[in-house]
Amino acid sequence: MILDVNDLSMRFDTKTVFKDLNFQLEDGSMTALLGPNGTGKTTLIKILMGLLTPTGGSYKFSSDVKLGYVPQFRNIDSEYPLSIRAFIELNAPLFKVKKVKEQIDRQITEMHLEQIQNTRMGEASGGQKQRAYLAQALLDHPNMIILDEATASLDPAAKEELMGLIKHLNQEHKITVLFVTHDIPLAKKYMSDYLYLNKETIRQGKMKDFKEDFE
């Protein structure tokens, strides 16, 4: 088990986001975090990342966990000046030894960015940007990654490419994946498990058994 969540509750002022959530994530699993907009998926992620304090309950990662997190929104506009490579390198020292350079090269190759590494981030496509965000997070050598709506604004081809890479990370590098989305078909295709957050509660199961009840 890599994550154990017990009776986790969150409230903003008088509005309850969710209460008494209980679930576990297994090492090496691929889980989709599903749910309608506004049910608190991002809030739950922020709590797990330690960026928000829950109002009740607790959660525990296994002691050897190293988390990578790709947030939903970034402020990268069309005038953003850094190249894809320079953007990824923000998560590395300015003065790099050979070993660090090789790690960066490896992530860039793995994320299919080597041809466009000198393209400015501002001019990159949505899919290229998402792969750059992922490469930046992978520089930390995480054994679990959390992606928040990474495919939300991508065209179908870019979605497939990104999901293929995420699957590759899971299978080849044994990285546990928690993938926030409301794209059910995509989740059915690539994810093995699901967490369904709706109406303040959570449901867990196998993706192939998932039944939508968005209403």
Binding site: L51, F73, N75, E79, A86, Q136
Partner: protein
């Protein structure tokens, strides 16, 4: 022109000012602090006027006011929804204070002109030493936090997601920026110091694709501006500040137009 001592001092001081403002400017623009830089210049003017009023060197009054101003305005603009209005209100208050301090200290308008628009003959040996030391302090501060500062300035959300103490980095940077304003104002004047803090680095964004490249270009453009400005000021007897402003604007516009044409 180097036979004149004041020109030697002015060149030396300007070189350090250009390097400091060139480096700090890259982050000013990346963090969208251009308006804040402008406000700090005006706060610096009030500080210099205050220094004249109580009888100390203008540099120290400026430093005191810009440091207090940076922390105050920084806090306010981070926690206020009405960022621009609150900064405008503060800048109005400080310009008013500056005018008041100058009036009640009974100094002449020549002095006000020097503070607002800069003066190259105002820098003596002691002044140069102070500017060089302060510049080095600013550069060291930036160097010490560079990794977090780079991450936070160019990818604030990513930096926060990586658990970087963005608040701490922000404060260190505001202090460095406040010092740069006080330093830069000694040559180009408090009204125009924001030029050196925003234009060379804005130009550099069109050319550099990495942070070191942008810093290099930014320093280069700042140096071209101050050196050429001092030279042209010396031979024409027109204000140096005019030349620096004109040169930086021309370089920026050329880079901008090339960028627009390339991306059409």
């Amino acid at each position: 022109m180097f036979q004149y001592e004041f020109m030697r001092y002015a060149f030396l001081a300007s070189t350090f000012i250009a390097i400091t403002c060139g480096v700090v400017g890259v982050y000013v623009v990346a963090r969208s602090y251009a308006f804040l830089a402008h406000t700090l210049s005006e706060i610096g003017f009030a500080g210099a006027a205050f220094a004249v009023f109580i009888g100390i060197a203008p540099l120290w009054g400026m430093l005191l006011f810009t440091l207090l101003g940076a922390i105050g305005v920084g806090e306010l603009s981070m926690h206020s929804d009405q960022k621009e209005s609150s900064i405008s209100a503060i800048s109005a208050l400080f310009i008013g204070l500056g005018v008041l301090f100058l009036a009640i200290s009974g100094s002449n308008s020549r002095y006000a002109t020097n503070i607002l628009f800069g003066s190259i003959i105002g820098v003596d040996r002691q002044g140069v030493t102070q500017l060089v030391i302060l510049s080095i302090i600013v550069l060291l501060m930036i160097l010490l936090v560079q990794r977090s500062l780079n991450f936070d300035s160019f990818d604030h959300i990513g930096a926060a997601a990586h658990g970087i103490h963005t608040g701490f980095v922000g404060i260190v940077f505001l202090v460095a920026m406040a010092m740069s304003v006080a330093i830069g104002a000694q040559i180009v004047g408090s009204l125009l110091v924001f030029i050196l803090l925003t234009l060379p680095s804005s130009t550099a964004r069109y050319i550099g694709k990495t942070i070191p490249a942008m810093i290099g270009w930014s320093i280069g453009f700042a140096l071209i501006g101050v050196w050429a400005g001092l030279y042209l000021g010396f031979i024409t007897n027109w204000p140096v500040t005019f030349f620096i402003a004109a040169i930086e604007v021309v370089i920026y516009l050329v880079a901008y137009m090339v960028h627009v044409i390339k991306h059409r």
